[in-house]
């Protein structure tokens, strides 16, 4: 108990004594701010390749512009991200680039930043409409996740239109699909999945989900899931749809080892002329270099480029405009003009805040254009 009381006393003393210090500090702070521009970056999780690329782009941009970038990685923990935001706010950081963990948290984040007179460009993970309504200094600089799913559906639509005989497995009138998800509940998992399912249905297909499960973004988990499904449902599915490229490639490996090839003796032969050496098409998202190479080897049907450079640069330029000019209203960032009319998807579907939305295009990577994406 003694320890506890000592601690309690200490904390109370600090609370009281520090309050006085802060009251005396503001004048000094104002002077500091004039000297250098500081941009805060609250980043979801750099364990993920895309987010790591995004963070690297930000660091490069900040170095080139000669500004201080305070980058915080919350490693997927929403509570940690709030703590980090609060810490930066206490340090006097005003202008933020935010890759949030959860869309639903963006309103509270915007309010906290707004209360200190700051701004934020929400990127990669969509902010809520309410977050953008907190004030004109809050922006969307992102590619809606659902677009990735929609592009997957388009790639598959083209494939099955050209090769209708490939729907013969399982129910011949339906696309019998196996879904490999990222971490369940992750925004990219939820939005991409819903969009690809809806996209196929909108294109007029009957969709039959043969099997679906998470592989937590991991190729190895995807491969073992796929191995198990091939034992259980071998021959009953037409396509494998994965939420990212890593898992798509795990599924490709499984299909190869289980003999789902046009010619199991020669893994380079496309006998049925569908453009693939595998007998079952697989699609992913991210357009990683490994995935593009797999497309070159005719092992992967398609993927979707989520543009880390485009998203990060747009968000960074918005934050810089806010820091240097105090407003970004009506101005373009990374050559992208703010939206002028609402689109179908939240948050850019609300007319009141479309002017705060900067949509960075996703790009479908298909058999006909993949070479453009090889580095």
């Amino acid at each position: 108990m003694k320890k506890f009381l000592v601690l309690l006393a200490m904390v109370s003393v600090l609370f009281v004594s520090c309050q006085k210090k802060e009251a005396a500090a503001p004048e000094a702070k104002v002077e500091e701010k004039k000297e250098e521009i500081v941009i805060g970056a609250l980043i979801r999780n750099t364990d993920e390749q895309f987010v790591a690329d995004y963070a690297d782009v930000l660091k490069g941009l900040a170095a080139d512009a000669g500004v201080t970038l305070k980058l915080q990685d919350s490693r997927g923990d929403m509570a940690a991200q709030l703590d980090q935001m609060n810490t930066l706010l206490v340090q006097g950081v005003k202008h933020f680039v935010v890759v949030a963990n959860v869309s639903e948290a963006t309103e509270d984040m915007a309010k906290a930043i707004h209360a200190k007179g700051g701004s934020a460009a929400f990127s990669n993970i969509q902010p809520s409409v309410e977050a953008l309504k907190v004030g004109p200094n809050f922006f969307l600089a992102s590619s809606p996740e659902t677009v990735a799913g929609t592009f997957q559906a388009q790639i598959l639509d083209e494939y099955f239109t050209a090769n209708p005989e490939k729907m013969a497995n399982g129910d011949p009138d339906a696309i019998d699909a196996v879904f490999i998800y990222g971490q369940l509940g992750h925004p990219a998992q939820v939005y991409r999945t819903n969009a690809v399912k809806q996209g196929l249905i909108d294109a007029g297909y009957k969709l039959n989900v043969v099997a679906e499960d998470t592989a937590n973004w991991k190729p190895s988990e995807a491969q073992s899931k796929m191995d198990a499904w091939i034992s259980a449902y071998g021959g009953e599915f037409d396509v494998v749809i994965a939420n990212n490229d890593g898992m798509a490639l795990g599924a490709v490996e499984s299909l190869i080892t289980n003999g789902y090839m046009d010619d199991p003796n020669d893994p380079t032969k496309d006998i049925d002329g569908d453009g693939l050496v595998l007998s079952i098409p697989v699609v992913g998202v991210d357009a990683t270099q490994v995935a593009v190479k797999a497309m070159d080897e005719k092992k992967l049907l398609g993927t979707v480029l989520q543009d880390a450079v485009g998203q990060a640069t747009t968000a960074f330029e918005l934050a810089m405009m806010m820091a240097t000019e105090g407003s970004a209203a009506g101005k373009s960032a990374w050559g992208i003009a703010p939206l002028t009319a609402p689109i179908a998807e939240a948050p850019a579907n609300d007319a009141a805040i479309v002017g705060q939305c900067y949509l960075v295009p996703f790009k479908a990577v298909t058999m006909s254009n993949y070479k453009e994406f090889m580095q």
């Binding site: 108990m1 506890f4 997927g76 509570a79 703590d83 992750h186 925004p187």
Partner: protein, 337 residues
């Protein structure tokens, strides 16, 4: 509290200074770190705003630490706590979403404020009871029993939320965690109350003595007439209730809950109490120690964020400190033996 400690260990250290150093290791470490951080940031890290952030950030974990701390004193462990907190957060959130939110789990329905609170605590209590029965009456090692219930809680969390985020929580619910009494966050008040209650339980009740006795030597405790099984179930139940409260506070603080809420919190809580001197050999540990351990790790987190240390290095530092704390603890105990 230190008296209780040394009685259990059954030894008296003669030199006064040595006594202070060894019994207050974690407190001294904490103060040293606080001063160090204050000095290298010219006091900036110790402003009121920073301290408020620190307290708010650690409050939910404090409930987790109190729960698992008691369990570790009985020579048990609880791996399910993060998932139970997450499930409780999700259940509580589902009853506190604004009625006009279209994507609400119970869209169009308005619940009184007590509904999410009772629901969240109930979830925690049920899991605590379940864990306690598995450990006490099923004789399943705590590590395995709670590993199982961790997965069950995670499954329930995904099923209940349908893998989506439960957002748009009512302001009156969010105020539970986001409110301030002057400069003092409500969360700090809850932690103080909970820590005081557990401190009374552990130090001034028969049950508290039984808990220490069970951790020290379960067989001896049984022989001396303690109903070990019933006491164990109670400890897990109390811990479950604390996790339930933690879930409510976490969701009110975030203004949402999703299937990822609570993930990995077991590691943070176990690490915190370990740093605070709660021995995994059982029978040793104090509520003050738990809180100091928690604040120490919290300060490390906060300090490294404040100084902008790369998050990958933060993991290394945290891991190193945990290993060091356990090593010191083991050394202390092997010397005693």
């Amino acid at each position: 509290m230190e008296n209780t400690n040394s009685k259990i260990a059954g030894i008296k250290i003669p030199a006064k200074l040595k006594n202070i150093l060894s019994t207050h290791t974690s407190l001294i470490t904490f103060i040293a770190m606080l001063i160090f951080l204050g000095v290298i940031t010219n006091g900036a890290a110790l402003r009121i705003g920073s301290l408020q952030n620190l307290v708010v950030a650690e409050a939910v974990r404090a409930f987790a630490a109190l729960g698992v701390g008691m369990i570790i004193i009985t020579r048990g462990i609880d791996l399910s706590l993060g998932q139970v907190i997450g499930l409780s957060a999700c259940v509580a959130s589902s009853f506190s979403q604004t009625a006009d939110y279209n994507s609400a789990l119970y869209a169009g329905q308005e619940f009184a404020l007590w509904v999410p609170v009772v629901a969240g605590i109930t979830v925690g209590a049920l899991f605590g009871l379940f864990n306690g029965i598995l450990v006490a009456y099923g004789n399943i090692p705590p590590f395995i029993a709670t590993l199982g219930s961790m997965s069950i809680a995670r499954g329930f969390k995904l099923i209940y939320t349908q893998a989506s985020t439960l957002g748009s929580l009512k302001n009156e619910y969010k105020v539970i965690s986001q409110g301030f009494l002057g400069p003092i966050p409500y969360l700090l008040l809850y932690v103080l109350v909970a820590a005081f209650v557990i401190w009374v339980l552990m130090n001034h009740t028969k049950q508290g003595k039984s808990i220490y006795a069970i951790g020290g030597n379960a067989m001896a405790a049984k022989v001396s007439g303690i109903n070990v099984k019933a006491q164990l179930v109670r400890v897990y139940l109390y811990a479950g209730i604390l996790y339930g409260i933690a879930g409510i506070l976490l969701s009110a603080r975030l203004g949402l809950a999703n299937p990822l809420t609570g993930n990995d919190m077991e590691l943070d809580a176990i690490a915190a109490v370990t740093v605070g001197g709660i021995s995994h050999a059982g029978g040793v540990g104090t509520v003050g120690g738990m809180m100091i351990g928690l604040m120490t790790l919290g300060l490390i987190n906060f300090g490294m964020t404040f100084l902008g240390v790369n998050s990958y290095f933060q993991l290394l530092v945290k891991g190193g400190i945990i290993i060091l704390a356990v090593y010191m603890d083991m050394r202390k105990h092997s010397r005693k033996e």
